[in-house]
Subunit: 211 residues, 3 copies
Amino acid sequence: MPPNELAATLVVLDLAGIFVFAVTGALVAVRKQLDIFGALVLGGVTGLGGGFIRDVLIGATPPAALADWRYLLVPVGAGLLTFAFHPTIGRLERVFTLFDAFGLALFCVTGALKAVDHGLGPLPAALLGMVTGIGGGILRDLLTARVPVIFEGALYATPALAGAAVAVLLDRTDLPLVLVAAAGFSTCLGWRLLALVRGWRAPLPKGPANV
Amino acid sequence: MPPNELAATLVVLDLAGIFVFAVTGALVAVRKQLDIFGALVLGGVTGLGGGFIRDVLIGATPPAALADWRYLLVPVGAGLLTFAFHPTIGRLERVFTLFDAFGLALFCVTGALKAVDHGLGPLPAALLGMVTGIGGGILRDLLTARVPVIFEGALYATPALAGAAVAVLLDRTDLPLVLVAAAGFSTCLGWRLLALVRGWRAPLPKGPANV
Amino acid sequence: MPPNELAATLVVLDLAGIFVFAVTGALVAVRKQLDIFGALVLGGVTGLGGGFIRDVLIGATPPAALADWRYLLVPVGAGLLTFAFHPTIGRLERVFTLFDAFGLALFCVTGALKAVDHGLGPLPAALLGMVTGIGGGILRDLLTARVPVIFEGALYATPALAGAAVAVLLDRTDLPLVLVAAAGFSTCLGWRLLALVRGWRAPLPKGPANV
């Protein structure tokens, strides 16, 4: 693929990921009976929050999404659609869980590579890739006063960390960027989908908790 | 008004806005039976938090409030007064709701114009103006583990966004800055007060929420 | 002590403080029945969060911990150990409360002096020292949807603020840095331990709270 096409493809994928994440945020708002503004804010925070945390931590401010109106309008559209058609969208939640895995796989790779670009070492870059993928959902749960769902056994952050790590490590080789990104993306997506299909769960603590 | 007087007036208004916001934060702390330190922290976070979020996102660090001790002492004073006289202040809450609207109208305009100053486009600048106005209250609610009240139907963020947008748009014309600020301020304040007086509510989601 | 030994000692103390804070975070995760990943994230956030907030606010990004893998591996180790041996560690909680006081005393001093180094005035530098000490615990409580425990009467933030203030003020004299740090450290540690031993509590609001 020529570089221009690749860049355009990445933007489209990025916006698609933001859209899906924003829908999950707006759905939570609707279920908490928040108003339309709450749906828009939760949509925006879920779609863009992971990238905001990453950009603030690596000092890349203002975050890229604030410099490109498309990145702001996509979550607004997702929030309005969800607010209006939430019964339908709620029924499609299993489909969205699949799309959400795509968004996660995409964000962990782009987040990790951006951190590498800003001079971070491999370990923090992989961590920031994971943060890019999971940060929006954590902020969504914070804003609705619940313990982040991804801490309750779902294998969600581990695939993101694995995908980010694969991308960071391969980026140190001579492989072309598109292959590096594809390998990280596939690692995260494959692991996440397998976990969903097989019902894999992260280990919970054993023994009495209230010692 | 000569520029020096205008600047001094703006600082006084800004401090007044911070004071009122800090009182609302400290009142929440008292009602949750938190200690005096909790009242001070919640007061400070509510009064200064919106500006901190804006400054971190646009990369204007350290935030202005950290470079001017008056901005730190005002919320401390508001917190101590509220802690000591909370039954009286609690009875005056309707008065404070009016003052709070002034603070909101002021912060959305100053926040938006600061974002423009830092080179942000009109859409993100208006959003950051809104964030400056509502961010402190959201952090206050986060720290007391409740869903932000402004998501529950009160028309609060919409006037802030409107006021910020008016200021950002007029700032692109030849109007003097004082008129630009006044127009944004009046838009937010008028809308917010009308919403309070008329009991306007933001739309809530329709239909079954638990699909 | 020669400068190299002093620097090495400080790093070891810093890592020890992060370890202890991370254990408290992972213990909260275990008690909330979160999965192993939740224990790691809560451990990391509690151990490193205060320093991250400070570094983001003073514009020292990326935070130091992201540039040194030891700072990332220590909370991972603390999280894994706590997850595996939480019944034993839970029984040792009183011991950890003592260690936690050491961590607090260390962080408030190093945080305040770093803020001074970045050009902040004495008042904001002392506040940021306090934030470095208490920020991780506040983030831990946010992520588990509970009101920060340090707002509920424990004398925790006040010693941190006092220790930070002592360090900031003495830093303006000709005293050698090691004495400046030791004085701030002792102030915080002594106050905190006295409060623990004597059962001192911060004042709670008087009178009816629901006015």
